[in-house]
Symmetry: C2
Subunit: 128 residues, 2 copies
DNA sequence: GCAGGTTACATGCACACGCATCTAATGACA
DNA sequence: TGTCATTAGATGCGTGTGCATGTAACCTGC
């Protein structure tokens, strides 16, 4: 394959990635917002927390698991806390750190939203 | 494959899409901004225009070609115009419409930025 | 123990986005 | 021609993001 072709296919693939991301995350955003009053990133955060049943989760770990900067993740946790879905508590080992914990309401919200998210993924991710 | 496995792989694939998009568009955003003072969407818009050499391009067509709403696309064109990279002119066939045209400066900026974009794509899109 | 650097998280700020709405032009129909 | 629905694009508003910075805790070397 020539360099030109390689470049062309790279650009095409990038555009497909862009379009696919826009389609899936747009649909997720709408459905999660409409039916469960949370956004895509909020859902991903709740899922991270739910997958660590019983474990305390450092804010930093949450940041690492999300496609967000530290500041955006910090505000995301603040929003979740305002909605009563998580609590922030001080980490005793390292008092700079913050533990983020799912509340019962948070777990319920996550469990309620999960089927919606799975359904939207199944409907919009066809092209594997 | 069981339903559980199907769901699992769907979720995994979604997370890969999310991570990949974040990595590529983040890198593009940084390099294009740093070296050419434009963002990813600005570059995509310039590319759309450049690919239609000689053709006038309706604002609506630009909106359709970008992963943006009509309002975001409108503001994007306004930004490009403020930077002198495009001009907006009235469409005489339909006076509600707007033609967007690349300026010489716009074409130069696009041509200068293209190698950067291609290089970043080549460096970050490895996993096909 | 204390000074200087580093790390975890929070926050001020600027900005791009989507949604809803506005204006003006068009088209359809009586 | 006059009315009403529709379409193209612009814009007010609220919100989420990144960057830069601030604050507090930690950690290392002296």
């Amino acid at each position: 394959m020539s360099d030109i072709d390689t470049e062309r296919s790279l650009v095409d693939e990038w555009r497909r990635l862009l379009a696919r991301h826009a389609a899936v995350s747009g649909a997720l955003e709408h459905e999660l917002q409409r039916r469960h009053d949370i956004g895509v990133n909020e859902f991903e955060a709740l899922e991270q927390l739910a997958e660590r049943r019983g474990e305390n989760c450092r804010a930093q770990e949450l940041t690492d698991a999300l496609p967000l900067t530290q500041s955006a993740a910090s505000r995301l946790v603040a929003r979740l806390e305002r909605q009563g879905l998580v609590t922030r508590s001080m980490c005793e080992m390292d008092r700079r750190g913050v533990f983020v914990c799912l509340t019962d309401a948070g777990r319920e919200r996550y469990l309620a939203a999960r089927p919606t998210q799975r359904a939207v993924l199944a409907a919009t991710m066809q092209a594997g």
